[in-house]
């Protein structure tokens, strides 16, 4: 396994952030928060109104605790309503429209609508920095060759951040996402004569690895200079992570980020996705840039360390369309800095298990998250991909999981296939408490996702047609 360069030895600035005591870090957060509050009180009618509702003034935000207790949260629905009332950016923008240098929108995968964000020139540098930061922590250095598999350009933050990040690290970036087929990406990578780093969604790294193995190419042999695989956006089982590291011969790393955070807000860094004794690793949050609370989504009370809660984010440096106490809807297992054992005072969340509260499906009385099924399915190396469907048949809720075998398992006998399908069914039941019908299909029948996978369809509403 190729070792990752120590980021704290290579960056005195990063070492200073790592060396802060908790009171020092919180004093920095409060100073930045107070600056943000004063600015928004003067420039953002949306946030000024929220402050007024809470009986707060910028000067009155005298502690992080008071801020968390008093400042109202915002949700996606609030932002969409604000945009509707004050198009296109909403009254929350906080900078003059003429100062908007980059427009980003959320992906729209929720089906509720797309949030729009107007970023200043300063924010665009910050966007690059918030990609460079986790990647430098993951061992990427100037002069390295990096392959970015996330579709570039367009209106998304993920379309612009990686390019800015690689540029300001001084790495040579090949932005192959979207425009090239998986086979064409592989052909290009083989011609590059040395690739050091890949950035991809979890789902796409799986697709890429599966395609390489299907062509009889062992990634660690074909790319001996690879020292980092950096994934984001989706959860995965540890068995899968272990196999990915084995296939590639290098460390798997993960970041947590979003449009709302203007890039990444945390990273596993050089430690990778495995923690002590092979357990899940931790994503350390960049708390001096984004203030995080982890709360119970029902009560908004702080989640105890070790429990799953909703991430609530506040931008401390972003000027254009900042989020203040924004309910992300992201579900993460919170581990306090005291329990994390990272040697730093940064809050952490568990790697590999971040999901969405609004992705949860209620099936036969059970709360089922797609990430739980992902974990059950992809723990089996033989499976290439799958699609799930929840539907109603004669008034009963049914669940079907169609799975395709990986190309490198084309030679499995019918008996062996049946055994794997049975094992997947058992694993899904163990993780979700729901028996699902598991059937095989051809790989070509399943969609390929260049970025975030949307593997589930809930068709139960259609079952109620008269």
């Amino acid at each position: 396994m190729i070792q990752v360069a120590d980021p704290f030895a290579d960056s005195p600035l990063l070492a200073r952030f790592a060396g802060l005591t908790r009171p020092q870090l919180e004093a920095l957060q409060l100073a930045k928060l107070q600056r943000q509050m004063a600015r928004l009180q003067a420039t953002s009618p949306y946030y000024a109104e929220r402050m007024a509702q809470a009986g707060l003034t910028a000067d009155g935000v005298t502690s992080l605790e008071l801020f968390a207790e008093r400042f109202p949260t915002s949700s996606k629905a609030d932002f969409l309503a604000d945009q509707q009332d004050h198009p296109p950016f909403g009254a929350r923008l906080g900078i003059a429209r003429e100062q908007v240098a980059l427009v980003n929108m959320t992906g729209g995968t929720s089906g509720q609508g797309q949030e729009i964000y107007g970023r200043s020139q300063r924010d665009v540098h910050q966007l690059g920095y918030l990609h460079a930061l986790p990647w430098v922590m993951a061992g990427l250095r100037a002069g390295d060759v990096a392959v970015n598999c996330v579709p570039a350009g367009g209106m998304t933050t993920g379309g612009w951040g990686p390019g800015e990040g690689l540029r300001i690290i001084g790495a040579t970036g090949f932005h192959v996402g979207g425009g090239l087929s998986t086979d064409a990406k592989i052909d290009l990578m083989l011609k590059l004569g040395g690739v050091n780093f890949i950035y991809a969604s979890t789902n796409y790294l799986h697709t890429l690895t599966e395609a390489l193995l299907g062509r009889g190419i062992t990634p660690r042999d074909a790319f001996p200079d690879m020292h980092g695989l950096f994934i984001a956006a989706e959860g995965y089982p540890l068995e899968w992570a272990e196999k990915i590291e084995e296939h590639w011969g290098c460390r798997l790393q993960e970041g947590y980020g979003s449009t709302q955070c203007n890039g990444f807000a945390g990273s596993t860094g050089s430690a990778g996705v495995f923690g002590k004794d092979g357990a899940r690793g931790l994503i350390s949050l960049f708390e001096w840039e984004t203030l995080f609370e982890v709360v119970d989504p029902e009560t908004l009370k702080p989640t105890p360390s070790g429990e799953v809660g909703e991430l609530v984010a506040t931008n401390l440096s972003v000027e254009g369309s900042p989020v203040i106490r924004f309910r992300t809807g992201d579900a993460a297992r919170y581990v306090s800095w005291e329990h994390a054992g990272t040697g730093k005072v940064w809050k952490t969340i568990e790697a590999g298990s971040i999901g969405r509260f609004d992705d949860m499906m209620k099936i036969r009385g059970n709360n089922v998250w797609p990430t739980a099924v992902d974990a059950a399915v992809f723990a089996h190396d033989e499976i290439g991909d799958y699609a799930g469907r929840v539907y109603t048949d004669a008034g009963k809720t049914e669940v079907e999981v169609r799975l395709a075998f990986a190309d490198h398992c084309a030679g499995l006998s019918p008996d062996e296939r049946g055994r794997v399908i049975g094992a997947v069914r058992e694993a899904i039941k163990a993780r979700t408490n729901v028996w699902m019908a598991v059937v095989e299909c051809a790989r070509a029948e399943l969609p390929e996702f260049a970025y975030k996978a949307r593997r589930w369809k809930d068709e139960r509403q259609q079952g109620y047609r008269l």
Binding site: A5, P7, D10, S11, P12, L13, L14, H125, Y129, A132, L133, V136, R141, A142, R167, I168, I169, G170, A171
Partner: protein, 52 residues
């Protein structure tokens, strides 16, 4: 500010940016080089005479 002043400011900024580029900090080095290159590009695109 006159055009000559702009040139002088940019030259001074370039010299400062070049000093920053000597950093050994892996997180900052690329960002400083990015800054230096943008200043350098501004100097170049303002060049209107072969004698500059």
């Amino acid at each position: 500010m006159t055009s000559t002043d702009d040139d002088a400011v940019l030259r001074a900024m370039l010299a400062d940016a070049e000093r920053l580029c000597a950093t050994g900090d892996a997180l900052l080095k690329g960002q400083y080089e990015h800054l230096r290159a943008r200043i350098d590009a501004l100097i170049e695109l303002r060049r209107v005479s072969g004698a500059d």
